[in-house]
């Protein structure tokens, strides 16, 4: 398999690969988006959850190349899986082949740091074109780059561009075209070479163990990869695919060096920076005094312990408010569209199993996927702006202490907050963190936040079982309970983060190095593109899982079915009509009988039997089998609990959480011994269960989509359900022991 290029079989006709690489925050992705336009493919690198963005570019010569947006990295030694992918893709380490050309995006305002990576890639012997980005920002700093001189010294084509304004692209594409046709015209090769005999001896020793396929017959590459190995391999690195003898020889040489009082890392990195420092004044001309940058002035306010936090909280409030309420009309619209579609199908197709399958299985399933779109689009609009403007780094800066105490990354704050609206977009938003460990941990905690789907369930239970009284004469009990549920879920989520980060996610603590990029105006097309790509990815991957589970749940709550149910209902209706009652009485009786029959039918389905089956397990929590059926139905989405209970109690599935009939039925429900099934204690136990259990297939599908493995959704479901059971058990049994009913 060769992930960077087409499959080997297609090698003869494969397109030349142009990798777009560079430091993070250099405008690399904006440049990539400009060059490929809308013609982009988003895939995954095999075996990892790092996304691979690629697109086609037609050159002036008529040749078409494949552009690949490589994850940003500061150097060719990795601190994360993303960085390792970047390195493998640029260096052409197994399983990658070297790209035909690397476009290195260089931030002109941070020239020396960016040149460090240019020097490293040069050593590998890959043809390079340097895209010198943000040159337009230099003038404001009183600086100017001598492009011709830089190009001469590097031996590479250097093209000044502005990814933001789209200037310089014609020239960049021309250079790519020229170098692809004549790779020798860019002169890769080491600009800095080690001169100490000790370091050369290390390189020679390591070179013997560099695998043949990596070298591709080039001594330049052999030397470059030896340096890479000496700098990157260590006892606890996470590098994949390093041969054991290479690992052994590097460890040996490093130990010898340390014993001799040498520091190989320092020797090499200082050597490269020495080359840069000797020339930087010739590359970069300063025309005036350095002004304090605008970014620093803005940060004086935005990172201020008082104003900074106030502004931050206001911004977050805005994000939260928009997810919670602005998305609502759009979601209602989606729901009514799908309801309309179902009605249309009911009107067109003959009644029967197929019609039910289409309306209650497929249309309801697709509807429950599409309904997430408004929130996902909105959240990614915000995240795109926060990231692109540079503010996300400030969020991490402000939240570092609090989040670190919980074992979470500072950037986990925005996804966690979004979890109060809905876990699904929040889980997709964990991508804002670089490390897989941080992302997965955050995903395991988000579903504990009180999402909006729990509200109908709480409203139903509180409305039915807790009287509208005042505590201390002014605080409404019902409102207090609702606030209490929010507090409870937040504390549980924070506790879960603290526990998980110290147990399952315990790992080597990585010291923080947080780059603070200058503030910039967001590049809107890039923000919008990310918004659409994320939404599409959700619809396809998570959507298919959600649709499948919806159909399974529909089948569970439908089969085995009484084929004559419709006839029986019709007959019963006819009997009522024959009694010639007053119209309102007639309607009431019909509703009662039909509801009763529907409820009866539901109870005899597999789902209904499942409710019976799990009764022994949920009985200690105070739940009977009817609640069990509700719990089975609520796996589709928590709010479905309300309509499932509606059917179970014969009120019909068109109820909402404010239905007085359903509330009355619930209050009136009695056990065999004549005591009420639902006491306030049972209600509390049920709410605690809903607060903690992962009753949401969409959440699990989203975690599957983001981790590309069933391991994490299964773990999430198991630990949350266990937590919910234990907590409800404590509440119910503890409450009984204390003398509550």
């Amino acid at each position: 398999m060769n992930p960077v290029r087409a499959a080997p079989a297609a090698n003869a006709s494969r397109l030349p690969v142009v990798a777009i690489a560079g430091n993070p925050n250099t405008g690399k992705t904006t440049l990539f988006n400009r060059m490929t336009g809308s013609d982009q493919k988003v895939g995954n690198y095999p075996g990892v959850t790092v996304e691979r963005h690629s697109g086609k570019l037609k050159l002036g010569s008529g040749r078409t190349v494949e552009l690949v947006d490589v994850p940003g990295t500061y150097s060719l030694s990795a601190r994360s899986r993303e960085e390792e992918i970047a390195i493998q893709a640029v260096a052409g380490l197994t399983p990658f082949e070297p790209p035909d050309l690397v476009v290195l995006v260089v931030d002109a305002t941070q020239l020396s740091r960016n040149l460090y990576m240019v020097l490293q890639v040069l050593e590998l012997g890959v043809p390079i074109v340097v895209a010198l980005n943000m040159t337009d920002m230099l003038a404001g700093r009183g600086e100017e780059i001598d492009v011709a001189h830089l190009s001469r010294e590097l031996g590479l084509p250097v093209v000044p561009v502005s990814a933001l304004h789209g200037t310089g692209f014609d020239e960049l594409v021309r250079e790519i075209d020229r170098v692809i046709a004549k790779p020798d015209s860019a002169q890769p090769g080491a600009r800095w070479s080690p001169d100490s005999s000790a370091l050369l001896a290390d390189i020679n020793a390591v070179a013997a163990c560099i695998p043949q396929p990596w070298k591709r017959g080039s001594t330049d590459r052999e030397r470059a990869l030896s340096l890479w190995a000496l700098l990157s391999i260590e006892d606890h690195d996470e590098l994949v695919g390093v041969p054991t003898d290479l690992r052994r020889v590097v460890t040996e040489r490093r130990k010898l060096a340390t014993d001799a009082g040498r520091q190989i890392d320092l020797e090499v990195i200082r050597g490269r920076y020495g080359w840069i420092d000797a020339r930087i004044d010739a590359f970069l001309k300063r025309k005036g005094p350095v002004a304090r940058s605008l970014t620093e002035s803005i940060d004086a306010v935005l990172l201020n312990p008082v104003f900074g936090f106030a502004i931050f909280l206001t911004l977050m409030g805005l994000v939260f408010q928009s997810l919670f309420s602005w998305a609502d009309p759009a979601m209602k619209l989606v729901e009514s569209l799908f309801d309309g579609l179902a009605t249309l199908v009911r009107g067109t197709l003959p009644p029967g199993l197929f019609q039910q399958f289409l309306t209650d299985g497929v249309i309801a399933g697709v509807g429950s996927i599409v309904v997430f779109l408004p929130q996902i689009l909105l959240l990614f609009l915000f995240i795109g702006v926060l990231e692109d403007s540079g503010y996300m780094a400030r969020v991490a800066f402000l939240m570092d202490r609090i989040m670190r105490a919980l074992g979470l990354h500072g950037r986990a704050f925005v996804p966690m907050l979004s979890g109060y609206a809905c876990a699904v977009p929040a889980i997709l938003a964990t991508r804002t963190m670089e490390r897989q460990r941080d992302r997965t941990l955050t995903m395991m905690v988000i579903p504990l936040m009180t999402c909006s789907a729990r509200l109908p369930v709480y409203t139903l239970i509180i409305g039915a079982l807790f009287p509208a009284a005042l505590v201390f004469g002014f605080m409404p009990t019902q409102g207090l309970l609702m606030v209490g549920m929010y507090l409870f879920s937040t504390l549980m989520a924070l506790a879960a983060a603290a526990v998980l980060s110290r147990t399952m996610f315990k790992g080597k603590r990585v010291p923080l190095i947080l780059e603070m990029p200058p503030y910039r105006f967001p590049h809107w097309p890039s923000v919008l593109r990310m918004m659409l790509q994320r939404s599409k990815a959700f619809l396809v991957t998570a959507g298919s899982v959600i649709l499948l589970i919806s159909i399974i749940l529909w089948a569970l709550l439908t089969f085995p079915r009484d084929a004559h149910l419709a006839d029986k209902i019709a007959a019963a209706q006819a009997r009522v009509v024959a009694q010639h009652l007053p119209l309102d009485q007639e309607a009431e009786q019909v509703a009662d009988i039909v509801g009763g029959m529907r409820g009866e039918a539901l109870r005899s389905t597999y789902g209904g039997r499942l409710g019976h089956l799990i009764e022994p397990v949920i009985k200690p929590l105070g739940f009977d089998w009817k609640i069990g059926v509700g719990l089975v139905g609520a796996f589709a989405a928590r709010e479905v609990f309300v309509s499932t209970m509606g059917v179970v109690y014969g009120v019909g599935d068109k109820v909402d959480e404010k239905s007085t009939t359903l509330r009355a039925k619930i209050r009136a429900e009695e056990r065999e011994d004549g005591k009420p099934v639902y006491t306030p204690l049972v209600g509390l136990s049920l709410m605690i269960f809903f607060a903690l259990a992962c009753q949401c297939m969409s959440t699990l599908a989203a975690v599957y989509r983001e981790t590309k493995s069933w391991r994490w959704p299964v773990f999430l479901f198991a630990y949350m359900t266990a937590l919910a059971w234990v907590a409800s058990f404590i509440v119910y049994q503890g409450g009984r022991a204390l003398g509550f009913a």
Binding site: Y74, S75, S77, R79, T109, Q110, L111, S112, R113, Y116, L231, E234, D237, D265, L266, I269, R270, Y273, T295, E296, D299, A300, L303, N304, P305, V306, G308, F309, A393, F397, L398, D400, R401, I402, V510, P511, L512, I513, L514, E515, M516, P517, P518
Partner: protein, 76 residues
């Protein structure tokens, strides 16, 4: 020799010696923070223990507790 917490915001100093685990030191060096490099302390976070440094025109934030081994000398 000074440590980072001896430097006031706005002050510059030269890095004398790195510290911490290898991959952390290596990354700091790759970002241009080598012995002899001039560093300016931009700010300290009012909340938390972050410090923002300017190194070679770029800004990075580090945790004070994680860079306590770094040694600096007065800017000449």
């Amino acid at each position: 020799m000074k440590r980072l917490h001896d430097i006031r915001p706005g002050e510059s100093a030269r890095l004398a010696q790195l510290g911490g685990e290898r991959s952390f030191q290596r990354r700091l060096m790759e970002l241009g923070l080598l012995p002899g490099t001039r560093v300016r302390l931009v700010r300290r976070a009012g909340v938390g223990d972050l410090v923002e440094l300017e190194v070679r025109g770029g800004h990075i934030s580090l945790r004070r507790s994680e860079v306590s081994e770094l040694l600096f000398e007065r800017e000449r």
